[in-house]
């Protein structure tokens, strides 16, 4: 059984293109996601420069529309999602005591389809103009009649390719968490981040196919003259809003739940206390995931669905405040009486709590349908969703990055630079968006290119723009931190925070490619902490040392995604030879994947040594 198959091991660039190791895929997701975070951030800065004074003409109206569309689309799909997947890849298998994910090949495929979809979307800047119909791409604005350039074509095709990657990534994590847990790791012993990733993956599974259908329908309308959304041909513009938001609302919970998970881990670790109300946290996460599918029409209160629909969706939306409130109090009670260490990771986590509460409160305000008629499409909405997405998700992501950076790279990020980053970003964030609530209440509509003097908007917009610069400055400090840390030796210990509670802190930083030389035996919630409290400094193994089976690296995921990328261009420009050629590459790779058995290879016990991921 344990014959070592001769397997090709690649080095350098080819290693990264062919890797199926979840830790390396996590690093790929992180750098790709962070790259697009910078792109989306630069777009935001350009938007704020345009709005810093009345009647500014820094960019043209057309460019402004492209900037705001690409800012939203990039941040949601190309920055936030991959950075969530980065942490899920880096941490989930370690937290459940697994050697790998359930489908390493599919995992790599998920990354590469996301990557090529993202590249395709951004190529639009150089090919006659980016999409300019808003990240929600409402029809008729996005229809071929009112959006005749190829911009929206890039949106529908790029997001289809990227969305495919997200969907298969979600399935991979669901199966990993259900099937690959170490002995003793029951569902109610799973760390909160694993729970959050589990529920998020389930939301991805049931939300993304709806987006795919919407995008396919819009693509058919634009490229093949179908009539889904063309009212003159019997189509229905409101149908797009329904399809988009039945995906779009679960999407915001897909984004925020992992942040909830990260915050739970970080606050518990740095308070040196068990997470308060663990089972109620699990319950709240599941309930938020469920209710997330019941509220999509609260984005459409002003569409004219009628008072009954508005009332029902209004109540359903307010209900979500209940499980979210449970979480907030659980975090506060976890900190209560703990011996709190304010590391950078914990600063982000503690800073998250009041910020997210503010986003939640404006959320309940917006959920009141009659009041929403006033707030709708104003800067109040912009302030609200930036409080939940930046103040919620992005703070959570940075908390998680500082917390797990040593586990991913073997180096602890510089704490001084980290704290500077936190304060610049945090103050900048509130400066940018707090004032926008008032701008909205005073009547400034969102998505406007410029505003007149004498409306009372001038000072507030200026303050908002200054805040955006501070956030940009903070991000530069973070980039410097990454570089400075990267130049230091890789000397992080297994448990660099010394208070690690979960399984990832029992193995070297960064972990060897097989993660656990021996699968650990889990004896309770906070598995590592439980052992520590009994005076041990390692887990009890659940199996003897033996050969470890590993999957082989493969270039096929890269080529399959490249095929979709080529096909996307072909169909967009009605060049069907190229389009079909791209699909032939993709399906050809699927064919080879099916007929060529991948036996993987074995690492023998005598080869086991703590060699980590090279990064």
């Amino acid at each position: 059984m344990a014959h070592a198959h001769a397997v090709k091991r690649y080095t350098g660039l080819l290693d990264w293109l062919t890797t199926v190791d979840h830790k390396k895929i996590g690093i790929l997701y992180l750098f790709a996601g962070f790259f697009f975070f910078i792109i989306g951030g630069l777009e935001a800065v350009l938007i704020r420069i345009q709005l810093w004074e009345p009647m500014n003409d820094f960019v043209s109206a057309e460019t402004f529309n492209q900037l705001l569309t690409m800012h939203g689309t990039t941040m949601i799909f190309l920055a936030a999602m991959p950075m969530i997947f980065a942490l899920m890849n880096a941490v989930i298998p370690l937290q459940i005591g697994a050697r790998d994910v359930a489908f390493p090949f599919v995992n790599a495929l998920g990354f590469w389809t996301f990557f090529f979809g993202a590249v395709l979307l951004n190529v639009s800047w150089f090919a006659g103009g980016a999409p300019d119909a808003g990240w929600t791409s409402y029809v008729p604005l996005a229809s071929p009649v009112y959006s005749s350039t190829h911009g929206v074509d890039y949106y529908v095709i790029g997001l289809q390719i990227a969305g495919l990657g997200t969907l298969i990534g979600g399935i991979n994590f669901l199966v990993t968490i259900i099937n690959m847990r170490a002995p003793g790791m029951s569902f109610m012993r799973m760390p909160m981040f694993t729970w959050a990733a589990f529920i998020t993956s389930a939301l991805i599974l049931f939300a993304f196919p709806a987006l795919t259908v919407g995008l396919v329908a819009l693509m058919f309308d634009r490229l093949f003259e179908a009539n889904f959304f063309d009212v003159s041909q019997g189509g229905n513009a409101v149908l797009w809003e329904h399809i988009f938001w039945i995906f779009g609302h679960p999407e915001v919970y897909i984004l925020i739940l992992p942040a909830f998970g990260i915050i739970s881990e970080v606050i518990s670790t740095f308070s040196r206390k068990r997470l308060f109300g663990y089972s109620s946290m699990v319950f709240a996460t599941v309930l938020i995931g469920f209710l997330g599918f019941m509220v999509w029409a609260h984005h459409m209160f002003t569409t004219g669905l009628g008072p009954i629909a508005n009332a029902l969706f209004s109540i359903a939306t307010m209900l979500i405040a209940v499980p979210t409130g449970i979480k907030i109090f659980n975090w506060l009670f976890t900190m209560w009486g703990g011996s709190i260490k304010f590391t950078t990771a914990n600063l982000f986590a503690v800073g998250f709590v009041p910020t997210f509460v503010m986003g939640g409160v404006t959320g309940v305000m917006l959920a009141a349908a009659p009041a929403d008629f006033q707030y709708h499409d104003s800067y109040f909405v912009v302030a609200h969703f930036h409080y939940v997405i930046v103040g919620g998700l992005v703070l959570g992501l940075f908390s998680g990055l500082f917390y797990w950076w040593p586990k991913m790279f073997g180096r602890v990020l510089n704490e001084t630079l980290g704290k500077l980053f936190f304060w610049l970003f945090y103050i900048g964030f509130h400066l940018t968006f707090f004032i926008q609530h008032f701008l909205g209440l005073m009547g400034m509509p969102r998505r406007v290119w410029r505003y007149l003097d004498g409306m009372g908007f001038n000072e507030m917009n200026l303050i908002s723009s200054v805040g955006a610069m501070l956030m940009g400055l903070g991000t530069i400090v973070f980039i410097i931190n990454m570089i400075v840390t990267g130049l230091k030796p890789r000397n992080a210990s297994n448990d660099p925070w010394e208070d690690g509670r979960t399984l990832e802190w029992t193995i070297p930083s960064p972990p060897p490619e097989y993660n656990f030389a021996q699968t650990p035996l889990v004896r309770g919630y906070d598995a590592f902490w439980k052992e520590k409290m009994e005076g041990k400094n390692a887990m009890t193994p659940a199996e003897p040392l033996g050969p470890i089976h590993m999957p082989s690296p493969s270039i096929l995921p890269f080529l399959m995604s490249l095929g979709l990328f080529i096909a996307g261009f072909g169909f967009m420009y009605h060049n069907y030879y190229i389009g079909i050629g791209g699909l032939v590459i993709t399906f050809g790779c699927m064919f080879f994947r099916s007929v060529i058995d991948d036996h993987g290879f074995h690492i023998e016990p005598e080869e086991l040594q703590d060699k980590g991921v090279k990064a």
Binding site: M1, H3, A102, F103, V106, L167, I171, N172, L174, V175, I178, N179, M180, L205, F206, A207, F208, P209, A210, T212, V213, G214, V216, A217, F220, D221, F224, E225, A226, N227, F228, D230, Q233, G234, G235, N236, L239, H242, I243, I246, H549, F591, S594, V595, D597, H599, G600
Partner: protein, 205 residues
């Protein structure tokens, strides 16, 4: 763990679930079908929202001919039964019988696809093109997505038949056959809904 454990010996009772890889594949595929359900659910919703918008094109009553659709339904439902026989044969380790049932499944699927292509061809001649109306666009998208799934299933199962010929039935090929069987049932269930929602409701009005 890998495919070698059982190559020389007797196959286990449920070879598709004998390895962790096999169990992962089966569970992952169930979840994938959950996502596919949402995909078709959304396509059905779009169709239901737009089905009365026929404009100048032919209406559902004028268009649909139930005998043709009934024949297609019969073929596809029977193919679902034969795919069950194939999986049963696999569980009894009767490789020959399994392959034969799979071949019959593929042939029935091809028959269904032939009827559907004829049906679409016929509709286009009656003035019911893809771009005629919102009804026609949503009809072709929903039924066409299903047809594309059938076509993919035919190619997939054919490829698996060839693989079993070459490699035999083992714990690597068995999960593939099992999962393809699940897929085939799924597109069958979707067709039952299409038959009801598109054709029967279309005839009733």
């Amino acid at each position: 763990m890998s495919g070698h454990s059982h190559v020389d010996g007797q196959l286990p009772h449920e070879p598709e679930k004998a390895t962790l890889e096999g169990r992962n594949k089966v569970l992952g595929f169930w979840l994938f079908l959950g996502g596919e359900t949402v995909l078709f659910g959304t396509l059905f919703s779009a169709f239901l929202a737009l089905r009365h918008q026929v404009l100048d094109g032919p209406t559902e009553q004028e268009l649909f001919s139930l005998p043709l659709v009934a024949a297609a339904t019969l073929l596809l439902l029977t193919s679902s039964l034969t795919s069950v026989f194939a999986i049963q044969a696999m569980h009894n380790n009767q490789v020959k019988a399994m392959i034969n049932w799979l071949i019959i499944t593929v042939l029935l699927g091809l028959g269904f696809l032939g009827l559907e292509i004829y049906e679409f061809y016929h509709y286009v001649h009656e003035g019911h093109g893809f771009t005629t109306s919102a009804f026609s666009s949503s009809f072709y998208t929903l039924v066409g997505f299903h047809g594309a799934h059938v076509a993919f299933g035919i190619l997939w199962i054919s490829l698996l038949i060839a693989q079993v010929f070459k490699k035999g039935l083992n714990v690597v090929t068995a999960p593939k056959i099992y999962v393809a069987g699940m897929y085939w049932h799924f597109i069958d269930v979707v067709w039952v809904f299409i038959f009801t929602v598109v054709y029967l409701m279309g005839k009733v009005g």
